[in-house]
Symmetry: C2
Subunit: 454 residues, 2 copies
Amino acid sequence: MKIRKRNLRSINNLSPFKLIALFYLFAVTVSSLLLAMPVAHQPGVELSFIDILFTAVSAVSVTGLSVITVADTFSTTGIILLAFVLQLGGIGVMSIGTAIWMLLGKKIGLKERRLIMTDQNQTSFQGVVRLIRQIIGVVLLIEFVGFVTLGTYFLQYYPPEEAYLHGFFGTISAMTNGGFDITGASLIPYKDDYFVQFINMLLIVAGAIGFPVLIEVKEYLFKNTTPGENKRFSLFAKLTSFTFLMLVIFGMVMIIFFEFNHFFADKNWHEILFYALFQSVTTRSGGLATMDVGQLTEQTKLFLSSLMFIGASPSSVGGGIRTTTFALLVIFMLTYARGQTRVRVFRREIHDDDLIKAVVVTIMAVMICFVAVVALTITEPYTIGDLLFEVTSAFGTVGLSTGITPGLSTFAKFVLMSLMFIGRIGILTFLFTLKQEKKKTGKYHYPKERIIIG
Amino acid sequence: MKIRKRNLRSINNLSPFKLIALFYLFAVTVSSLLLAMPVAHQPGVELSFIDILFTAVSAVSVTGLSVITVADTFSTTGIILLAFVLQLGGIGVMSIGTAIWMLLGKKIGLKERRLIMTDQNQTSFQGVVRLIRQIIGVVLLIEFVGFVTLGTYFLQYYPPEEAYLHGFFGTISAMTNGGFDITGASLIPYKDDYFVQFINMLLIVAGAIGFPVLIEVKEYLFKNTTPGENKRFSLFAKLTSFTFLMLVIFGMVMIIFFEFNHFFADKNWHEILFYALFQSVTTRSGGLATMDVGQLTEQTKLFLSSLMFIGASPSSVGGGIRTTTFALLVIFMLTYARGQTRVRVFRREIHDDDLIKAVVVTIMAVMICFVAVVALTITEPYTIGDLLFEVTSAFGTVGLSTGITPGLSTFAKFVLMSLMFIGRIGILTFLFTLKQEKKKTGKYHYPKERIIIG
Ligand SMILES: [K+]
Ligand SMILES: [K+]
């Protein structure tokens, strides 16, 4: 298969990919140091090196898998530091990286700009710097609204200082899809409070739907159109939002189907609706939960694993193979099965390069997750279902767990940290950071010869 | 992605694909009737409809998953009928189908010939009929040698009549990769008899390596070369044999690694070698076993599941995604990761069409097997590891089992029968048989637009 020149160029321009990986490692190191400070801990708490590292990786990758209970481990200072780390990770390796280049006065060249480019129609090369400012602005704005709303609302549950701490941490954890909690039991204490759940879902979706979509929505709402100019959403925004919505609805329906005679047996219709909806939304990347995932049936856990494997939108706070990758795969399969020649969606044709990327990402991801599960079965005493759940949760940077995380071996913690790293920076970036040197492209062609498939 | 005209043509020429599926259904019906005859059963044995159907599907697809014990269920007549059904399935839907068209005097048109075409360099359009004769000839020859060798060798274990019955059934079950046994415990009774194991491995490989390879080997060995003519193996033969060999070696090494402190803990080096080698060979498609698979560790079972998912070579008696599909995927990933533009192997370039097929087959297969496992977790009380093993064993038409097959529900039996069907006729054929009508290809192009992947 010819891999077009465009791909080749990005493959050979390694530095930005390496920079992102390096930034990620830098962020993890700084976060580990911050979270290791005695002032960050509750009196008498001592954390092992591996647990601090795991928490830092989980927080920087905004996964939320945790070997510790935040409320029992960290002091208020520690909680605020953790929120800062989530923010660092949430706004993202890409935007933070670009912002740092900006601050350092480094001229943003074509390569770096391409990295955070989302859609050529919507964002010109010139607008990249503006885009980063917009990302940070939009995130802070949403978080401020969330903080005030949740903090004030929580006054009915907690004394003022605690209420606003819960509002502050809860908003950041939801908006960055951090998935950490200071309640000690995720959102289970609010399992009957639909308002808190609703706000949390809004924040999770805002984080997971992808920054480009947020920016486009903002521009759609607030930008004055000059006469003759058409306001339109990009293909990317439409495809990712549609896929996101479909996954949420499909997820909700299947959760209800799988749990109807189990977890939902004694629940009424609005409880079922909110449980299923929240659980479906949170598997995109959120990681907060209103129910104990460990109590769900094997089929629900398997199904949720596949949802977490798909993950969130690109250029969002989430991981996984990404919604767009999944959407392209499905569209590609349907097109092929129908015997049509061109892969289309929303009256646009899809580039071959993008389909190739989608395929490579998916197959690599399946292989990586499979190898991870096999490796974990060697060292861990848990079922394959629970291990697959943990692996896809890490790869999708979701952070849900059936409860086995604190009991994992050091080996397993390193496996999960690697998955969170790969899930967060993305398979393609990961592949490119692995490459050490430019490889020569063969200059002569061999004769072609047919092969039987399937 | 443009799907080339060549694909399009095969997609739109549905009849041959439908014919193969219809032939398969016809073979299953006839086999069910044969196996349902009272004369085929041991005295007093009554089989339910679903168990006869399951046995017929398993035999026609040469899978070997079994809800019954052959020796306890079938009379000598029944065993010979079962061998006949395995032969029918083993020589294959394709060749048998073509042979029937031949016998019926139907002119073999281009479409039908394409179906059993394996390599354009090696087999001309004119040689298709000859190829089928060769396939049947080679199979019968190998089986005759196997029958005489094993039957005579078995004289040390059984009285003459029984020895040759074991030789007869064992040879057919191994050569067709049928996986059924009349010992009641697969090849476990011969776990210390390396000669029997060796002959069985040769037969299994002969069946699973693909008929085109057998024919090429035969021509290589026996054909006189005219001066100036080069004897060479086709790309297909080289790729599939190399992949087959690599999978066997890799499988053996990993099985030793995973079981070293478990099943192999009290075994000496040649026991370990033969157990691991036989187990690795049999997961290609054979289904016979020298050990109780249910005793293996979770990691070995998961790993074997992945080997069974890959399956055997195309145009062989085996199923799965096929060795060539897996090889193309790996080569494609490596090429992409290296940033090279052309996918090559053995000094030949791979066609885009073939890569697209490999990708479609793999992704479809992953989805189908995943959905099957989720479905089975709903109705069956077994672990996900055991269910995945059963599912991949059916899809790869391998027939190994951790021992849960007889305990499965009717629903699960239907799921496994569907998987055996799909695995045997191949995902692409399956896709094409699902299509009801020709779809129009869109005649106008939409503008292209970029999308972010991963
Ligand atoms: K998360
Ligand atoms: K078999």
